[in-house]
């Protein structure tokens, strides 16, 4: 099976965010693999272990995203594709998907996986859009994949503890739900092997993608709080006593 995983590099979870216009200041912060995508990558690696084939890690962004591709290679992906784009953070979901779709089109993958959403933009649309642009069937919020010949039996998650089984033909695009598996760490052996693996480079222009933006982030800001939070101070024992008092006499919930 040829499986391509779309992986995004995002600001590290604990990175202090410094808002600058309609994005954040990228200098002085760390970046990491988008956690939802790491579940997609892990699922791809498991499918390869079971069915044979190849796992390709695809990522779009500035030069720094190569680090995340290398991490995917160290975990077991066979090769990488880097779509170089410094303005990547400004792309609306459809424009970003159009670029990814062009890179994916020539690859003729059996299966394309994405995470559910990114921890920075959080659009949650990439998988569905890529499927639409490539005219492939898709399913989202997937918790289990069973490959049978030219089709799959999938477990899809719904709200409130409900699930659904679906049959989906191959090739297809799936967006993977977090918790579908336990993500592996890269081994030292894998890190060494990654150095020899190929990362192909291309740009949005070289892919011939032209796209008008469909939406625009005007500005980003810290939300004005509608709720007034009362912060308690003191030693743990003092704060605990104060809190119990407030819950008992002010809020009257205990």
């Amino acid at each position: 099976m040829k499986i391509i995983v779309c992986i995004k590099q995002v600001p590290a979870k604990d990175a202090p965010l410094s808002i600058s216009g309609n994005w954040i200041k990228e200098s002085d912060i760390g970046f990491e693999m988008n956690e939802p995508d790491s579940y997609a990558l892990e699922e791809a690696l498991r499918l390869k272990e079971k069915h044979g084939g190849e796992v390709v890690a695809l990522s779009m962004g500035p030069e720094r995203v190569k680090q995340t591709i290398k991490e995917a290679l160290a975990k077991g992906a066979d090769r990488g594709i880097h779509i170089s784009d410094d303005q990547f953070a400004q792309l609306d979901p459809l424009s970003a998907a159009r670029t990814l779709a062009e890179a994916l089109r020539k690859e003729n993958a059996d299966l394309i996986l994405t995470g559910l959403q990114s921890d920075d933009h959080g659009f949650g649309q990439t998988g569905v859009l890529v499927a639409t642009l490539l005219d492939l069937p898709h399913a989202t919020i997937i918790m289990q994949i069973e490959v049978q010949e030219k089709k799959m039996r999938l477990k899809r998650e719904l709200e409130a503890g409900w699930f659904q089984h679906i049959e989906c033909p191959l090739p297809a695009v799936l967006s993977i739900q977090s918790g579908i598996n336990k993500v592996r760490y890269a081994t030292l052996k894998g890190i060494m092997a990654a150095k020899k693996k190929e990362i192909a480079s291309m740009t949005r222009e070289s892919l011939g993608v032209k796209s008008e933006p469909t939406q625009k982030i005007e500005k980003i800001y810290v939300p004005t709080k509608t709720k007034k939070t009362e912060f308690l101070t003191g030693t743990p024992a003092e704060m605990a006593t104060k809190l119990v008092e407030k819950l008992k006499f002010d809020a009257r919930v205990i």
Partner: protein, 328 residues
């Protein structure tokens, strides 16, 4: 402006977030002098259209077809693109449900348009409607505008608007108009099978008046007994954010969030929970929220009534002791 709201129901029941989206539509309509249509899609769903006819909506569209009886992304996208092509709304709104996430971006993209999804509010700037959505897992929000010609597609987050604010029809009933679409079986590529529940459901968190919930800050399953002792002292049920349940440290039925339970208890105690969107969506309706987290910038503090910036491993035992003391 013409606004079209796509409502959702499953297995004979409304997804109530449909009403929240109708409230959002009514507010946008009031601000922009627009008319609202609401659409019911499926098969054998005329009663849902009747439910909507008593509301302040200009027109109810009833879209039924054999191939729409069970939800599929192909079926819904192909059917709705025909409806949008013929009725030409400017703004198409959805509740941001798991089903909408599965087909709405496809529907928009089929028409060459983009979708602004999971919005928490909107406001007007001049004659433009600006949609607000969260970014960076709730740490910031963003003002987003549509670019280019309509139709425009947007969805609203569960709980962003209050369903009980839905205005009734002022004079009588809205007309219900049936629409026909063309669909062929070979166009529908995925085959939906049975829906099922997995969790034992030995506890119904939606009925618990007090909930003590743990997040990643609990660090290891060996630490959970401290939270359980606190839950016992305060008379609460244990719950958790998704990562805890994914790890198997607590059963899936204890999960609160978009994939788990949505609760509105008297008291919600969030221990070591950062406040990511997927979790908050499941508990922001709680009457009183107490958050304890060592990160003062954790988004959970945005919605907390009481906050303690501190180490949960110091606070949990202190709180348990204070609660025991208060009982005597």
């Amino acid at each position: 402006m013409k606004i079209l709201v796509i409502t959702e129901q499953r297995q004979g029941k409304w997804n109530n977030t449909s009403f929240e989206t109708l409230v959002a539509a009514q507010q946008i309509a009031a601000d922009t002098g627009s008319a609202i249509s609401a659409l019911v899609i499926g098969k054998g769903v005329a009663n849902f259209a009747e439910d909507l006819a008593s509301k302040n909506i200009a027109e109810i569209l009833l879209l039924e077809h054999d191939l729409l009886e069970a939800y599929t992304p192909d079926g819904y996208s192909l059917a709705l693109s025909q409806v949008i092509g013929s009725s030409k709304p400017d703004l198409v709104l959805f509740p941001h449900t798991y089903q909408v996430r599965d087909f709405a971006p496809k529907l928009a993209a089929m028409m060459g348009k983009g979708m602004i999804a999971d919005c928490v509010s909107f406001h007007k700037e001049g004659d433009k409607v600006v949609f607000v959505r969260q970014m960076f897992q709730g740490k910031t929000v963003a003002d987003v505008t549509f670019q280019g010609a309509s139709p425009w597609f947007g969805s609203f987050q569960s709980g962003a608007f209050r369903a009980d604010l839905l205005k009734a029809h002022p004079s009588g009933k809205a007309p219900i108009n049936k629409i026909a679409v063309e669909l062929k079986p070979e166009q529908i590529r995925t085959k939906p099978l049975e829906l099922f529940k997995e969790a034992k459901s030995s506890v119904d968190l939606t009925q618990a008046p007090v909930i003590v919930s743990i997040g990643r800050g609990i660090k290891a399953p060996e630490n959970i007994p401290q939270a359980e002792a606190l839950a016992k002292a305060i008379g609460g049920e244990m719950a958790a954010s998704r990562p805890i349940c994914d790890e198997g440290w607590l059963p899936m039925e204890r999960q609160i969030g978009s994939s788990g339970q949505t609760v509105a208890p008297k008291l919600y105690l969030a221990l070591g929970i950062s406040g990511a969107i997927q979790h908050v969506v499941g508990m922001k309706g709680a009457r009183t929220i107490v958050a304890i987290n060592k990160d003062q910038n954790a988004p959970i503090f945005e919605i907390a009534d009481y906050g303690i910036v501190g180490d949960i491993f110091e606070i949990m035992p202190a709180l348990t002791a204070a609660l025991e003391k208060a009982k005597t």
